[in-house]
Structure formats: structure tokens, C-alpha cells
């Protein structure tokens, strides 16, 4: 027997034709018997186990239920969505009724359940089940769709299996094999929501503390359009979704914001990113799969008269519109893009939009400069000196805009953010020197000297 023939036989013979299989198998079993007759070691045989196990059947049943729920969401059919729940568990039914009422208002590019990594605990508990919720706002060529992770428990009820329990994954569950994956902390799992389309692929989502959601649509649409124009044709998610609330508890719970290391309850807005799962069930963390904005209108009231959310919207939109290019934490560095660039750009973009804001930043920087040494590290950016850190970040882009123009500032940012910050100063890396040469036509050293002079002399006009 030659290996080449063996390969040829397999390459031509492997197919799903039962006739071919039976004929081929029959002939070769004969050959096998002949071999066994040669004596020596006993020839292995195929000992099939009982494969129609309860666990397998139950897993299939779960898959059927999830497929029906997928169709139900697509068809906006609440009855079908709830049909396979344990009807005696009123908490579960009411919770899922709320989730359904929320989901049906969103526009999905892809909705469904991915069970490719599902494992079992006993015969009835399965996970991780990934719920794929790619909004039209999130569509991207990343190849991974935003997902949330759940563990399902089935139970026999009136002669059939129903869903008895759905456990959402939280950020702390990553070591639990049945809950390992993107956390299920989207607002639609927690709070009754209302969704309003503000413009082409601009969406506002509010809880019951924002009965006047429509009032903010014009501002959201206008700010999104301006930020998108600033970003020009660079890679971005096609849409923007903003969650508005005046409820501090929801603000803390949605997207696990309160568990984030840099959460401060008085901050007026945050931008969060969505983690994707690929078709093969692999959690894909090398790029973001979507973005969302959260705004606490109650906090804005403390800063801007009339609860005007436009400055906050603009700042967070500068994050979310550019989120697709931002580095994600990697094995090499868990810092993400340099924070001075991320926050500095968003602050600068807001100052471009409202020169009065830029004047405010300038005078605050002059007053708070103190013993200024250079750009802040990402590690403690949001610490005690965060106000100054934001302003120093802003001043980098203000300086570039002054010497090279607005477009150069945007391009500089676009080239910095795909890179992870490092514990040694990012601006001392050779790659930063390359970015300065390409986008500003100067070395990193010359650029940093010029910027420091700019800051010390009052950061512009």
C-alpha cells in the first residue's frame, strides 16, 4: 500500500452517499478480516455507545426552542417567543416578556443564537449560549457579531421540555465554562425601554425616566452628522445608539458600567463597546463589534442649563464613531489605545464644534497646569488628576490643528488609536516617531517640544 494511493482513495471516496459508503465499507471489512487473520495483536473494533442520550436529546430541544425564539423576534410574535418558557415561573415569563418588548423595537442586521461552544452540566443545563444581537448600527466587516452569553436550564413540564431558567453572564463569570463569553448586560435585559429613530442609523433609547425621549432626537441627529463628517471616510460602525436615562441605578447597571474601573457616578456620559462572537463560536476580542453611548441627563443638568445634552453627546460620539479603529487590550498590553489620545480627541472635537468650550478648556489648562511634565499615562489617566489629563490630551490636538490644520489632527488620531499604550511612554516608541513623520512631517522629538512650548505659552489664542 502506498500512502499516495491511500490519499487518492480518501479524496475521491469521502462523500455522503449511503450507497457508496456501504459498498466501500463492505469490501474493506473483508480486507480487515483478512488482516486480523494474520495473527498478532487483536484488531480494534468499533464499540458504539448508546448515543441517543437524554443530554443530546435535550440539547437538540434547546436548539429548537432557540430557533423558534429567533423567528419570533423576527416576526415580532410575542406569543411564540414565550411559548417554550415554564409558564408556572411568572418571574421568568414577565422578564422575558420585557426583553421581547425591548428587542422588537431594535433594528437587527443579525439576530439569533449561536450554540457552537455549548457544553452540558448534567442532562438539562447548557451553556454558553451566545445571543447574537448585531444592530444595523453595528454592521461591520470585522467578521464577528455582538453577542451576549447565557446559561439555560431546561425542565420537563407537562410532557415536554421547557426553559426553566436563563442565567445571564456578568463580567465576573469568565471562569465558569457555561457562562464564558461577552456579558449579557445590555440595557434591554434589565429595563423596559423605548426606542426612537432620530435620523438615518441614529437611535435613541430611553427608560421610563425619559418620557421626553423625542425631545433629544434633533440634537442626536445633528451631533452624529457633525462627528461623522469630521471622521470623513475612515472605518466606523454605520450607526450610533445612545441610551438616555435620569435614573442613577440604571446608569450604573446598564452595560455593567458601575463595575468598570473608571466609573464615576457623576460623569455625564460614557461610551461602551460590544464584544463579538464569530460564526464558529469563538469570542473575538481583537476588534470591537459595536459601540453604544450612555448618557445620564440628571448629571448633565448639573453642568448645562436646560439639561442640554449636546456637549456630552458630541464627546461620546467622538468615541463611538471612531471606536472601530481603537486598539483592544491584548496579551502584550491591557491598556488599549493611549487614553490621552482617546479622551483628548473627543474633547478637542467638542471644542471644534463649540469654540466657547475650547476657550473654557484653554483657560482651565492655564490655571491647572502646575508642574507639567508631559503626557499622562493610560494607567492612571482617570485618577485624581483626570481633569488636567483630559485638558493635556485636548491640547495635543489643539496644537496639531494650529500648526497643521484640522485634518492633520484627525489623521494623527486615526494613526495613534489602533495601537496599544505601553507602560513605557508611548511617545518614546519608534512607531510614534513614524506617525509624527507621516502625519505631521516632523520627528516625535520636535513635535513634543513644540507641543510643550504651546502648552506652557497658554495653549493658543
Amino acid at each position: 500500500m502506498s500512502t499516495g494511493n491511500w490519499l487518492d482513495a480518501r479524496a475521491g471516496g469521502a462523500r455522503l452517499s449511503r450507497r457508496g459508503v456501504l459498498v466501500g465499507g463492505g469490501l474493506l471489512v473483508g480486507g480487515g478480516l483478512l488482516l486480523a487473520g494474520c495473527g498478532g495483536r487483536e484488531r480494534p473494533s468499533i464499540e458504539s455507545r448508546d448515543v441517543g442520550s437524554d443530554r443530546d436529546r435535550n440539547k437538540r430541544r434547546l436548539r429548537e426552542i432557540l430557533d423558534r425564539q429567533t423567528e419570533a423576534v423576527k416576526n415580532k410574535d410575542e406569543k411564540a417567543y414565550l411559548a417554550d418558557l415554564d409558564s408556572s415561573n411568572s418571574d421568568l415569563v414577565e422578564h422575558e416578556r420585557m426583553v421581547f418588548a425591548n428587542l422588537r423595537q431594535f433594528e437587527f442586521a443579525e439576530f439569533g443564537y449561536n450554540t457552537r461552544r455549548v457544553a452540558a452540566h448534567g442532562d438539562y443545563t447548557f451553556g454558553p449560549v451566545f445571543r447574537i444581537t448585531q444592530l444595523t448600527a453595528d454592521e461591520s466587516p470585522v467578521g464577528a457579531a455582538p453577542a451576549e452569553t447565557f446559561r439555560y436550564r431546561l425542565a420537563p413540564k407537562d410532557g415536554r421540555l421547557v426553559i426553566a431558567e436563563i442565567t445571564p453572564a456578568s463580567p465576573g463569570d469568565q471562569k465558569d465554562a457555561l457562562l464564558s463569553g461577552p456579558p449579557a448586560d445590555e440595557a434591554w435585559n434589565m429595563t423596559p425601554l423605548r426606542v426612537v429613530q432620530a435620523a438615518d442609523n441614529v437611535w435613541l433609547v430611553g427608560d421610563d425616566s425619559v418620557p421626553d425621549l423625542e425631545k433629544f432626537a434633533a440634537a442626536a441627529a445633528a451631533e452624529a452628522a457633525i462627528v461623522r463628517r469630521l471622521w470623513e471616510g475612515r472605518a466606523r460602525f454605520p450607526g450610533d445608539v445612545m441610551y438616555l436615562t435620569r435614573d442613577d441605578d440604571n446608569y450604573r447597571r446598564w452595560f455593567s458600567l458601575g463595575k468598570s474601573s473608571n466609573f464615576l457616578p457623576e460623569i455625564s456620559g460614557f461610551q461602551t463597546s460590544r464584544t463579538g462572537v464569530r460564526q464558529n463560536g469563538q469570542v473575538y476580542s481583537d476588534q470591537r463589534a459595536g459601540a453604544a453611548i450612555l448618557i445620564n441627563l440628571k448629571n448633565i443638568r448639573d453642568y448645562y442649563s436646560g439639561e442640554d445634552p449636546r456637549v456630552t453627546m458630541h464627546h461620546e460620539l467622538a468615541h463611538s464613531v471612531t471606536a472601530q479603529l481603537r486598539a483592544t487590550p491584548s496579551i502584550i498590553s491591557d491598556l488599549g489605545s493611549p487614553t490621552w489620545a482617546v479622551e483628548g480627541f473627543a474633547t478637542w472635537a467638542t471644542g471644534v464644534r463649540w469654540p466657547s468650550e475650547a476657550s473654557r478648556y484653554r483657560s482651565q489648562l492655564r490655571n491647572g497646569l502646575g508642574s507639567f511634565k508631559g503626557l499622562p499615562s493610560s494607567k492612571d489617566f482617570y485618577g485624581a488628576k483626570r481633569s488636567l489629563n483630559y485638558l493635556l490630551g485636548w491640547s495635543v490636538f489643539a496644537y496639531i490643528a494650529q500648526i497643521k490644520g484640522r485634518e492633520a489632527a484627525v489623521e494623527f488620531y486615526a494613526q495613534v488609536i489602533p495601537l496599544n499604550d505601553t507602560l513605557e511612554p508611548f511617545v518614546e516608541l519608534p512607531i510614534f516617531d513614524g506617525i509624527c513623520e507621516r502625519t505631521l512631517g516632523t520627528s516625535a522629538g520636535a513635535f513634543l517640544e513644540g507641543w510643550q512650548r504651546f502648552v506652557r505659552r497658554g495653549a493658543g489664542a
Binding site: G25, V29, G32, L35, G40, P44, E47, S48, R60, R63
Partner: protein, 174 residues
């Protein structure tokens, strides 16, 4: 078209490598398992040889943790993922996952890939290999999850997740 060419090429390299190590198809001459710590492994065939062959055919392979490798190739709508557990340089646990559009029948290339794995422990035994192939093909055709003990190895076929087929071969505990 690209997909078929890529996968057939891969099989060619791998099986050629395997053949060179296993010069005979007689059981009396070749052990089918070898003890490796608490389990059994595929004799002679080094994990690194399989990984190198996969890499040579364009599969990006990553060592996910100590003694655990993952090689993944995405071609069009198909994903081929091989994971290998290595013990003392040999293979104790190997699986392939093929992900494809759920409504499509597995193509010949997909089946070749799965059957390549199924045959790994018994490459030298043409007849047994064919029996194993039949068992695998039958289960996939029937769309059934299945388990079998074959010699010193446990075989698992998982088809119950739409659009994916997983075949896993694990050396049994000693």
C-alpha cells in the same frame, strides 16, 4: 474552488508525513497506542509534525496554553479548526471543528478533513480506517451525536449544533 484546492493540498502534506512514519499496515508489527502519562497517545506521530504540516499549508497555529495548540483556517464561508493536546510530544487529544452554512450539505472537502482526523490513529490499517470512515459518515449523514470506543481511543461526533460538525479523538485513560 479555492477552498477545495486548499484543503486537498493540506491533506496531501499531512498524510504524506504520516505515511513516512508508519511503514507497515500489520497490527502485529505496529502498536496502535502508546502510554503517555495517564492516558494513551497515538504512537510515533509527533504533535509538532502535524502542527508544522498544518502551518505549511497556511493554517495559522497558535499555542493557546502549555501543550495545547489551535490551528484555524477560514476559507470563504467555511472554518476549519484543529485543536491538539500534546503529551510528551505525542498527541493525546485531537479534534476538528468544521463550521459551514447551516443549510448546506457537507462538501467533499469538509468530509475529507474530518476523515483525515478520524484516520490518524490507524493510518496504517486501511480496512479499519475505512470502517471508521463509514461510522463517521453514517453519523454525520444521520445528523446524530455519537460516541464510540475504537481500540484505545474514544471517538466523538457532534452534529447537533446547526452548521457545525465536530469530530474528536481522545486517548483513553489508562
Amino acid at each position: 474552488m479555492l477552498m477545495v484546492a486548499a484543503i486537498v493540498g493540506l491533506l496531501g502534506a499531512l498524510v504524506a508525513g504520516v505515511g513516512a512514519y508508519l511503514p507497515t499496515n500489520r497490527y502485529q508489527a505496529t502498536a496502535t497506542t502508546v502510554p503517555c502519562r495517564r492516558v494513551v497517545c497515538i504512537p510515533v506521530l509527533k504533535a509538532s509534525a502535524v502542527i508544522d504540516a498544518l502551518k505549511a499549508k497556511g493554517h495559522p497555529c497558535e499555542q493557546e496554553r502549555d501543550h495545547h495548540w489551535k490551528c484555524e483556517l477560514m476559507v470563504g464561508t467555511l472554518t476549519f479548526e484543529t485543536t491538539i493536546e500534546e503529551v510528551e510530544g505525542l498527541i493525546s487529544d485531537v479534534s476538528v471543528l468544521v463550521v459551514r452554512p447551516p443549510d448546506e450539505e457537507p462538501t467533499e472537502a469538509v468530509m475529507d478533513y474530518l476523515l483525515w482526523l478520524a484516520a490518524l490513529p490507524y493510518t496504517a490499517d486501511e480496512a479499519l480506517t475505512e470502517e471508521i470512515n463509514d461510522w463517521v459518515v453514517d453519523r454525520i449523514e444521520a445528523d446524530e451525536d455519537a460516541e464510540a470506543e475504537i481500540g484505545g481511543y474514544n471517538y466523538y461526533v457532534v452534529t447537533s449544533n446547526p452548521g457545525s460538525i465536530r469530530l474528536r479523538v481522545i486517548g483513553a485513560l489508562r
